[in-house]
Symmetry: C3
Subunit: 338 residues, 3 copies
């Protein structure tokens, strides 16, 4: 860290090119073509360079109001967006829905109209109902960025996962690599978004979990829509064998009440990512987890903190990916105005 003793202007960003980006919102990754995704990842490379500077800030979004409207508790995603926006010199407004008057029965559309009238240029929204960001985007005059909606999607997480895989896999590509997503697929917006981006990247994608937590993915895999191909199985040995990367998903205690899981202990015994089980994968296989971790349930502590784990890289890359997306969306709004 460098102590600036005078108030110098922030150094100009060498603006990465934004030509080719023409989305005002980012609601999920399913609409992104492979060139779109590559543009995001290249822009994130530029942001990673900024993050390595003594003063990790650029003035690219100066005067832009980024409002972070979260209807679900979250630390890492909320702070990641906040830090990303501040690193671009944007002004950030946080609204936690549980403690605000949005609980007074105001409709989502009214809230979105109000947030816009209050000056928001970008709305980052997390909502327990699948599709809520789409409804917001119909009303909002600026850009909507989906920070996670119900079981549906979590596009920034999928993009940071892909970015992390490319950064850490030998050769820098996911193409042809065996990537396993292990755990509670049914309730996972992370998994659903990752299916789109990892298949687009050409991964040999495997989804593995208890049969009760795989519902719906079979039909999706069979359909193989638009060339998306992935394997769905409850056979954890088959899934992990020779894998290049394994992403464990969080198991939520609430799921047992619904009769979907017998017990956390049994889940851990049969599907938990332990050091023993990881031996099935390639020797240098990467370990991912979207966090927060239930240590000893879906992942063993020594695996989560081990030398194959890229969990902390995922968090750091999340800031770069969100900076990239805020930057690209701002350009799209500017073009719309011009």
């Amino acid at each position: 860290m460098t102590i600036a003793s005078i108030d110098e202007p922030l150094p100009a960003i060498e603006e990465p090119p934004r030509s080719g980006w023409h989305y005002r919102h980012l609601l999920d990754v399913d609409v992104l073509t492979w060139p779109d995704i590559e543009l995001v990842l290249r822009t994130a490379d530029a942001m990673t360079e900024v993050l390595g500077r003594p003063i990790a800030k650029v003035p690219a979004l100066r005067g832009t109001n980024v409002t972070i409207l979260f209807y679900e508790a979250s630390t890492r995603t909320r702070v990641s967006f906040e830090v990303a926006a501040k690193n671009l010199a944007a002004d950030v407004v946080n609204i936690a829905a549980a403690t605000s008057s949005v609980t007074k029965g105001e409709s989502l559309v009214d809230t979105v109209r109000t947030v816009e009238a209050l000056g928001a240029d970008v709305l980052v929204i997390r909502h327990p109902v699948s599709g809520a960001p789409y409804l917001a985007a119909e009303t909002f005059g600026g850009s909507v960025l989906n920070g996670g909606d119900g079981w549906h999607g979590h596009p920034t997480q999928a993009l940071l996962d892909l970015y992390t895989l490319r950064q850490r896999l030998p050769g820098g590509s996911v193409e042809g690599r065996k990537v396993v997503i292990l755990g509670d697929l049914l309730h996972s917006r992370v998994a659903r978004s990752n299916v789109w981006s990892l298949t687009a990247a050409g991964a040999d994608l495997w989804l593995c979990g208890p049969p009760t937590l795989l519902r719906g993915f079979d039909a999706w895999a069979d359909a193989g829509a638009a060339g998306r191909r992935f394997t769905v199985t409850s056979d954890v040995t088959a899934a992990l064998r020779d894998a290049d990367a394994v992403m464990a998903l969080r198991i939520q205690r609430e799921r047992m009440a619904a009769g979907l899981l017998p017990s956390l202990r049994e889940y851990a015994a049969r599907y938990g990512l332990t050091a023993d089980r990881l031996k099935l994968a390639k020797p240098d296989a990467l370990v991912l987890h979207p966090g927060p971790i239930n240590e000893g349930v879906e992942i063993a502590p020594d695996v989560a903190a081990g030398d194959r784990s890229v969990i902390t890289d995922q968090v750091a890359n999340g800031v770069a990916i969100r900076m990239a997306l805020l930057y690209l969306l701002a350009g799209a709004r500017e073009d719309a105005v011009a």
Copy 2:
């Protein structure tokens, strides 16, 4: 939105004149003369111009600490003050009383002393007890801005309502215009502040609601103190006939428990602002609501979202009005020091 690629200084504000403003606090609108009010509205015009810029910020309050101390949940008012302060380059501290140690039994006076010692120059306070901001102003060395106190007053709301009416009424004046406030007057700090400012502006003001929710306003109207004249009635037809503007007030569900209202359904049927009922007013009558809205109770969804509705303008103008007040109060403190 414009992407600033270098960190240019914010453009100087052409400082609107502040001569004639000599209030250190703004606790209610009752003390304001008509020239005072006009100064606020003219200053808000200058701030509206700032809000229209690509970078909607000016450095007028740089180095000023604005502390927002809210003892009641609120999204729109809290965020409006926060955005207004940040647009003037102030530093903002948010304190939500429910989650802070003010709930440990510390007295309001102690809290105000502490907030001042922590560096607050301006204290924006919302409190469930009428008069609390007056108590705060007796102790606080900077400026106190009332963000709503009990049933008593909400001066920034009244000023933004007046600003919106003048902006949208033909001729740009409220003088002689029939303005109706419809709903739960009894519990409404918005209504009480509006009585002062709308009568000062020369409006033909009508207050209408169920008799149980009009208590106290009759006596006030009869007194006609200081030339304030307004009509109080439960006859919604008489109130709405040929109105130029109708402001519906939020009905709170808690009121029914107190026996003041039979049911929300009955309230909606007899006093709700529906499209049919609005036909009694002038063809281009404006519709206002301080928010948040209970759609289908005090206002029908098609009216709230209709082309006469200026509800979103109210929210946007709230930022301009609050910027104007923060700016004027800062000048008054500066004069006191000089």
Copy 3:
């Protein structure tokens, strides 16, 4: 307050010297030598000068991310750190643990790793478990600043108390002065940290409270480790007689449930700092309290607000002390990198 009408760079801080400071973290005051403490106090003098400027900001920590992670509710300490960091132009992220996913069972170590990956350079942590900041410091790559841990320590409070005493005591020194800490010592992290710093400063330190709330301090006093000498007593008359300064500690209602106190009324009668009892002390004795105050319990309202009270000075000095520590820790990190 001065209205800046152009966006001038912040004036450079005349950097106070940091030579001699070689701590990356501040976890408690026990490790600080007297020259270390004097360096903090001298640096706080420089920060007090900054706080007296029209624009009380310097760019010393520009680009530094200060994350304030509080696992206990707090207004004054949280806001004090936030204001101190912003006065040095740092970026601040607030995480209130009760409302965040750290309640989802994530371990402290995972949270600290995540916060670091999100970009935190300085971590200010408050935690109900004694020692938690030490655990955080083992993991965190930047600087950890203890904002209060369990019953163990509250180093910034002890330093601001010492700073306030030196500022207000005749002669500007604590050496040989009789300083009394009165109240619930047992549960007080404030008292434990003050024992270290006040004895280091050469105070004649007395600890006084009901016998049930003094447990453990007797043995500590008898040990007299490393030349730390202080008197422990339940005799409030002996303690207060000819005192130069009295610090009353907050009594928490929860303590009665545990059978440690008969009633608040009885506590107030026997140990409360009343005007009568204060007559035992020197005529110009200072009155301190770490806040928030239970008026009428551990301290009488007229004493808390009286002319000997320096409680508000403590709050104001807290900002200067925290600015000084953030500044010194930043220098230590810089040296580590260079």
